[in-house]
Symmetry: C2
Subunit: 406 residues, 2 copies
């Protein structure tokens, strides 16, 4: 890790993408870049962050500071992100100076601010839950009545992995929450707590030229606001709903002028006549946890596709490489098991030579995203079981099905 950039890290005549962020998404963008002969320059907060560990060219700095952003993007062909927390105004400044910011700040705002997103999609006539800005306790009470108490309260900005999402039990609870959060200057909105049957994710990639491709829609299993699993393609999704959902994601990408990968998180719920319908939850304009399956289950991974899209290169095929792929996250257990990580990996591979283990080089913390496992195959039940057992063992050093090695 240098503080000034490493000139040797960029082969002449090949593109460089500046990535703001140092997490696992930036890390996996790097593996894609290396295979493509491209290169990444990171803006990282710490030299041992997940992506910084493996970076040949890494600028250390704070993404809130324009000067640090400037150092990171110098000479890069495009700049992109592994999270949505870079101040939008800094990106507008960079854009004004001719830096190729992808996605553009005008698009990114809809991934940064949940209220702006709700307003814009509603305007476009796209399906979102009923919602309202919450600037006072009165706003909250009014919305509570409007949705018969089924309220989901959200921080409009800065949330991730369920931080910034609350489900108040009753009106009293809601009032107390709002009072406290407004006092802490958290910008708030409320929306209907959707009685969804499951969550879906529709991912597309789009480049500046307007070319847009979609991956198959996947089922995403969340718990406590964190993605645990993605099942590709979403099992039992009626063909017309799948097609409609892809089109919805493409429409959002086009209307919002998104470039790079766009993930549309969705709720599947029962429509008035019992038929399934989808409602948009949030947007992410970068590779997304529900797209990790593409690394092993698809011709073009979301990481390669994101680089191609932000560089305005032609997009890759999103054809499946296997009938089914299941991705399960390895989330830090409450306590790190005694068995060293490498032994856990070995045990998983001994039992499942087929399991694709991806690890992020992060130290243990309860609930932290440390890695994921992808399993592909033609028998969905077996694939899913294997991915779940493997991820569970990596985290707990215990086989959830009681299996013992001979």
């Amino acid at each position: 890790m240098t503080d000034s950039g490493n000139p040797h890290a960029h082969a002449p005549g090949t593109p460089t993408v500046a990535v703001i962020g140092d997490g696992q998404l930036a890390r996996m963008m790097q593996t894609a870049a290396i295979e493509l002969g491209q290169s990444v320059r990171l803006l990282a907060g710490a030299p041992d962050a997940s992506a910084a560990q493996v970076a040949a060219d890494c600028v250390q700095g704070d993404y809130h500071e324009l000067v640090d952003l400037e150092r990171a993007v110098e000479g890069a062909d495009a700049v992109t992100f592994d999270h949505e927390h870079v101040p939008n105004r800094h990106l507008r400044t960079l854009l004004d100076r001719g830096v190729v910011v992808e996605p553009r700040p005008e698009a990114l705002i809809y991934a940064q601010d949940k209220l702006e997103q709700r307003r814009r999609l509603h305007e476009l006539g796209l399906p979102v839950p009923p919602f309202a800005a919450v600037e006072s306790i009165d706003d909250a009470v009014e919305f509570f009545e409007r949705v018969n108490g089924a309220v989901c309260l959200k921080a409009t900005r800065g949330g991730y992995d369920g931080h910034g999402v609350w489900f108040p039990e009753d009106l009293e609870d809601l009032k107390k929450l709002v009072e406290k959060l407004l006092g802490d200057e958290v910008p708030l909105m409320a929306e209907e707590k959707v009685p969804f049957t499951r969550e879906l994710s529709a991912m597309v990639a789009r480049n500046r030229r307007g070319e847009c491709v979609a991956w198959p829609v996947v089922e995403s299993v969340q718990a406590d606001g964190i993605c645990h699993e993605a099942v590709a393609p979403a099992p039992g999704l009626p063909v017309d709903i799948e097609r409609g959902t892809r089109t919805l994601a493409e429409t959002i990408a086009r209307e919002l002028d998104v470039t790079g990968v766009l993930a549309v998180e969705l709720f599947e719920a029962d429509g008035p006549g019992g038929e399934p319908r989808v409602v948009v939850n949030e947007l992410a304009m970068r590779p997304h946890n529900t797209g990790h399956w593409t690394q092993d289950g698809c011709v073009t991974s979301q990481f390669e596709q994101h680089l191609r899209a932000v560089l305005n290169m032609p997009l890759g095929s999103t054809e499946l490489a296997a009938p089914h792929t299941v991705m399960v996250n390895t989330l830090g257990a409450d306590e790190s098991p005694e068995m060293p990580l490498t032994e856990r990996v070995n045990a998983v591979w001994r039992r499942f030579p087929h399991a694709k283990i991806h690890l992020y080089g992060k130290s243990h913390r309860p609930g932290r995203k440390l890695g994921h496992v992808n399993v592909t195959g033609s028998d969905l039940r077996a694939v899913r079981r294997e991915a779940q057992l493997a991820a569970h063992f990596l985290v707990h050093a215990v086989w959830a099905d009681g299996y013992r090695e001979a």
Copy 2:
């Protein structure tokens, strides 16, 4: 690139592999390591070499020098190679000092010295062409007579990509060659020029525990001693020959105590009764050009497998990800085309969204291995054509079939 190693490049509790070499094989080992949460420390000759460009931890030095090797392997869990030119005696020294050298120098010698290899395989009763050491012109003349003039003369050490392989036209030519080469102190051997019908490659991986897995045997298309294409699995190879060839490679791995990936280059020839038979050509104990197809065509790539094997971890599934995969090398054209590389890549992707392009970050030189293209699919003719057209365009900026973009 640091000269002392980068401590941040290695996440605590995850293995580090020291890789001696800085070419594309080392580069692609790094992408595999990053996804596995592992890390690589390189010994590179230059800071802008293919693998050094993308390395977070890179020691600059000369692999002929023991001190440089020592610096590179310090603290690593295993040391391995991206070529076979490291002096065997240095590796024995490292091994004596407790360094985990994989493959061991006692095995590696059979990939370093073609004469040693021929002797050992012959001793084991495995199929090799008739051969002889050549220490004098008389030795050469004697061998010439023994094989009725069908002589292939080889440098026993230091050859690659056909450098070090000669096919003398007649006895005069042979004598002149031998005189010149012996004068230059090139260590020589002769073997029968095999009238092969095609070349095959059988690849296996083996760890120290003795676990051994084989990939399907592939056809390898060579021209002027350079690999141009690999077709996986080898088309039309009778099942019993395929099985026998895999077993042959496994036997070699076991008998020679090879660890890591072993590539057995083979000739397929007509047996006395017209039935196909295979004869071993050379051994490589590392990922091999004929195994690049595994990156996109197989559950476990040769790069991931090599790391797993040299770390004595369980080996991954070698199941196919697609019925057919064709890999075509992009070898530097006589003159670099005017069209910039990125535009050539774009044109290929516009026509073939399915093509997987791998580039090594190397500058142009005629005949130089600059990258490769993998194409997977179920129609072998289409797959092969696409891979060939794509690689040809990347090199020449011309569609070999006359295609013009609309």
